[in-house]
């Protein structure tokens, strides 16, 4: 359910837009952070920001790092400014919400998540977090109702803090920054198969662009909306926001045609082979069933060793997050509807409408699973919500 593949596109954009100098720095910071050297990472971030104070990705990273150091107030300040400068980005709102929730300020958390969703109606993490917030607020309300007096400490929040921008927004930033300094030479990007990079570095290079405007800018946001430039075209194929879960699935907006470029170039002529096709669908149904049954081990078993976790997460971090998300639920229902299967040699692509329902949340989205055949067994290599 996490946005996985769009990252590619994001990278494409970044490359298209140009300079990659920043990517290295970002990669360094990211690496340090992952190694647990948060203080060091933060120093590097500050250093970079002193030169490029408006760099959104880095500012975002700074917020994440501050949050990891439990410097909530500072982290909140960073994310708040980001929301002011980039009103269209859901991630800073989401992370603000996580921080507010940790302080037990559920009203503020709720408001922030609602804004996150307003900026991006298909924003799954924000929905899941919002579901949690509503649950927490409800239980707080109940405590007051019953005079339990146990103003329960905020406690461990299982809200998801985002470590990086997701693709869609990365795209936006790129566009904003590209758009600001006059006609950036942006070739309409033929969806070039993205160079296969480690997922992590892919995300990182996002806003790889010399910062055009140093000061906090409020203008860019509306700019994006009306921008009829090539830049806009560049964004267009970005993971189209799926219909908001609440509003019930209308036809999924845009199905990204040039989506995740598989590592091996897709053969243009898919041969329908019902045996393979059935085998693939059996796996997909098994996967959905394990998910719904909350048998996390079985569920994770459907993912291949080559699986690329979204958001640049490590396999383990991703698996832990999935476990936390799945096991805590009272009930889960997962429905796979109108699947389209494309089998090409040892890879298969299944696109279907997914209905996810838990005791807290109902979400409908369009999903694409990319499966590979390993030792005669189909496994998920990539999972994309769109």
């Amino acid at each position: 359910m996490k946005l996985a593949a769009p990252k590619m596109l994001y990278l494409t954009l970044a490359l298209v837009i140009g300079a990659t100098a920043h990517a290295d720095e970002f990669a360094d910071v990211s690496k340090l952070a992952k190694a647990g050297k948060v203080a060091e990472a933060l120093n590097k971030t500050n250093e970079y920001l002193s030169k490029h104070p408006a760099d959104a990705q880095m500012r975002f990273m700074k917020g994440v790092l501050l949050a990891e150091q439990n410097k909530s107030a500072e982290a909140i300040a960073v994310f708040t400014r980001l929301t002011e400068d980039y009103r269209d980005l859901p991630e800073p709102y989401n992370n603000l919400a996580v921080l507010y929730a940790a302080q037990g300020q559920y009203d503020k958390a709720r408001a922030a998540l609602e804004k996150a969703i307003r900026t991006n109606p298909s924003y799954q993490t924000a929905y899941e977090n919002l579901g949690d917030i509503y649950g927490k607020m409800a239980s707080q309300a109940y405590d007051k109702a019953l005079a339990l007096g146990v103003t329960a400490p905020p406690g461990k929040s299982n809200l998801t803090m985002l470590r990086t921008f997701s693709s869609s927004t990365g795209g936006k930033i790129a566009v904003m920054q590209a758009a600001a300094p006059a006609p950036a030479p942006i070739p309409t990007p033929a969806p070039t198969p993205a160079p296969k990079l480690a997922a992590a570095s892919a995300t990182i290079s996002a806003a790889a662009k010399p910062v055009p405007v140093p000061a906090p800018v409020t203008a860019p946001a509306p700019l994006v909306a009306t921008l009829p430039s090539p830049a806009k075209l560049a964004v267009a194929p970005a993971p189209a926001p799926a219909p908001a879960p609440v509003k019930v699935a209308a036809a999924p907006a845009v199905v990204p045609k040039p989506t995740p470029a598989p590592p091996s170039p897709p053969a243009p002529t898919p041969k329908p082979d019902t045996t393979e096709r059935d085998a693939v669908m059996a796996q997909v149904h098994g996967w959905a069933k394990a998910w719904a049954a909350q048998s996390v081990d079985t569920y994770l078993g459907y993912y291949s060793a080559q699986f690329e976790p979204p958001k640049g997460l490590t396999r383990k971090a991703w698996a832990d997050e999935r476990r936390a998300r799945i096991e805590g639920k009272g009930r889960i229902r997962v429905e796979v509807a109108s699947p389209e299967v494309n089998v090409t040699g040892n890879t298969a692509r299944v696109t279907f409408r997914q209905t996810y329902e838990s005791d807290r949340l109902t979400a409908r989205s369009r999903k694409t699973l990319l499966l590979v055949k390993n030792g005669g067994k189909w496994q998920i290599k990539q999972e994309v919500s769109n």
């Binding site: 649950g135 409800a138 005079a147 109902t362």
Partner: protein, 402 residues
Amino acid sequence: MKARLKAGGMLGLLLLGMMGGGLGHAAKKPERAQVVRKANPEEQLTEIYNDLAKHDLSAAQRKADALVEAYPNFRLAHLIRGDILLMHTRAVVNLGAAVPPGSESRLADLRREAAVRLQVERPAPALLPRALLQMRKDQRHALIVDARHSRLYLYENRNDGLRLLQDFYVSQGKLGINKLKEGDMRTPVGVYYIVGRLPGVKLPDMYGKGALPLDYPNDWDKVQGRGGSGIWVHGTPPETFSRPPLSTDGCVVVSNDDLNFLTRTVEIGKTPILIGDQVEFVSKDQRDKDLRQAAGLVENWRREVEKRDDASLKALYSPRFKSSADEDISAWLARNQFLPGAKKISVTVNDPSYFRQPSQEEMIVSSFTQQTIVGKFRHVVRKKQYWAKEGKTWKIVAETNV
């Protein structure tokens, strides 16, 4: 019938089984000519439920947020807000849908409070409270406590008739009504008066913003040997906006806002408060008939006093009669006879009031000024009589000179 509410795409339905068909008639109130009042908390609750009935979750959420903001100790509002918050993500099928285990009795209390608050049935504008047969001109207000529906009605006695000013949610004794003795956790049934005002600052916290003591036990209670004392109308402690319907030791408890309003409105020693579980609202015809009957009883009594025929006067009194000094009827009448030797006397009854106890037990309480003139001598006494229906006839069971 269950009230099936659905709000918004995601939330499924809310089934307040306990509400019965409450929503339908909860909202309507009689037309009141004047004063634009800010919606009180209970009316806001009703509005929230109406929003949910209209599938308007965000309006309901907004109002619930505002309500708990304004009344942070209104527990029922918090409960309903909790449900509304859950409705954003899941179906809510009853009130307090996801309350943690271990608080069942509190939840049950809140559900009862919700039921009585949201199921309020206010009388049609043309109907009159049967209990208030006739008030004295100088009695500007009267209170009626409907114990069955946890409701207090405040009536204004205007020259052109009675008018319902407002009604309030009330809590009563843990074990309900019909107080008999000290510590029985029951609220008395009868016709009483507000006899004082006690400011909250001089009272323990549990009385809230103040108290209005009642004259329980009244004369009839005393004849019946009913005990206990200190029955008050009072407010709520700081930590809660309201108390469950059955939660007091016998007092009638209202919210502090309501208490303040009542304190300003009532007149000490004049404002009656009638408590019972058979509060009826009847047509003007029915009430006029009841009034003629009550006035007829007193008129009959007046004639017998004037006739100075002991036997027929005594026949109007119940064998149960006892005076407050424990005298029997003969001793009581003898003591009350003005100038016993006189043959030709004139008796008039002025400024009467007639109240009908709102209970199963039929009882009329009349108060009036009795004036007796014998030649050039004149005697005036204010009397209170308790008439009870014994078999098919009404008899005086208690009588006092006020």
